[in-house]
Amino acid sequence: MSKLKVVFYWAASCGGCEVSLLDTNEKIVELGAIADILLMPLAFDGKYHDIEQLKDGEIDVTFFNGGTRSTEHEHLAKLLRQKSKIMVSYGACASWGGIPGLANQFHVEDILKCVYEDTASIAGSNPSKTRPQVKTDVPEGELTIPGLYDRVFPLDEVVKVDYYLPGCPPHVDWVVKTIDAIAAGKLPPAGSVIGSSKTVCDECKREKSSDRKIKKFHRVHEIITDPEKCLLEQGIICSGPATRSGCGGAKCLDANMPCRGCYGPPPGVVDQGAKLLSVVASMIDANEEEEIEKILSDIKDTIGTFYQFTLPKSILKGGVK
């Protein structure tokens, strides 16, 4: 059998997804034995030009991480789709936009103004309000850099996606399973999410009472929590009830941190944030409007709390602002 041709590409992401591949430990050697990696910008210097020379469908698998924010990301997503038999949406950002997708609350103009004019570390030191330009004329000719879109797109809104491998980053068990399945040619039906069909709460070892109540919301640094009890019952917003399991047995909860929802919505849920909001709100221990509002006033960033990884893929997207 000839070696598989594999690409790992990153778009609007942090690089953690590529590092998660290294977490496969000795499996990475096996991957080297069964596959040739044609492009992986984090690890080595591949050229887009070389990818353009390939025949359509010549790449066996592309693992694409990161949301699509710039024209370069879009170009690569379309190019790699054309050249690949299988396109895997790797990680939370490619699948739902992820944390960079929270920028969809704002217009790109506001973001650029914030970054190049208003940020404390830059304020006053950029009096001419210089910003990077897509095209710049220099004596030697014209220089170009990729342009930004007004929003972050999940990968499946740019090209057809065959599999989703969620997580921030995907857990090593599922990465290994995926690599094994590709090597054996035994892949699940196209469109599948490669992960568990349970929720994080199902796998969480913390003790949950049958009558769960929240009297006051706290942020993680504000209280010392009981390591045995459900964090929601202690007033810490945990995304466990509305998050697909697959992270390897509620790992964040083991480390005394709430689930942030990086595995995305479980099967049957379209909008992770709205579903989580429903669970959390119904646990509030108050029946009077005023008291409920007072308890809710401790939640400072509703979008960031409930849609930490899924805003671009939520039903209302970036809202109306």
Binding site: Y149, G273, V280, L316, K317
Partner: protein, 148 residues
């Protein structure tokens, strides 16, 4: 604002009180605006916040959730659950830029035909003033505008 704008309002009505209240309004020949599209649910506590955001995304200019008065829920406390959920949902909608008047949770009992008529007329008037709702990045107005 568009002249003669007729808003589309989706109303989630609980089976036991508010839906019966809507019936009552009909029996009493009270005025109910034709803008209201009613979805009957067994309890206001059954209304998932996903239903509300989906209604907005699908073209509703306003959404109402009507249930039994506090203490009168057929299922004891479903309407309290609705109250808690919708209060948090209001916060979220506000952050997403959807005006406060586009979403309303209220209580209408089976005998309050006149209240049903009043709250629905008020809702339509308020949303009329706000004009149509446009969700950014919705499929219908997808642009993918490029910044250059």
């Amino acid at each position: 604002m568009i002249d003669n704008f007729e808003p589309r309002i989706v109303g989630f009505l609980c089976n036991w009180c508010s839906y019966a209240g809507a019936d009552q309004a009909g029996n009493q020949h009270k005025e109910v605006p034709p803008n209201l599209k009613i979805v009957r649910v067994m309890c206001s506590g059954r209304v998932d916040p996903q239903h509300v955001v989906k209604a907005f995304q699908s073209g509703a200019d306003g959404v109402m959730v009507l249930g039994c008065h506090p203490g009168d829920c057929h299922y004891k406390e479903g309407n309290y659950k609705a109250l808690r959920r919708m209060k948090l949902l209001e916060k979220l909608l506000h952050e997403l830029g959807i005006e406060k008047d586009r979403f309303k949770l209220d209580w209408v009992s089976a005998s309050e035909g006149d209240k049903f008529s009043r709250v629905t007329i008020e809702m339509v008037e308020k949303v009329k003033k706000l004009g149509p709702l446009t969700i950014r990045y919705n499929k219908n107005n997808e642009g993918g505008e490029r910044h250059e």
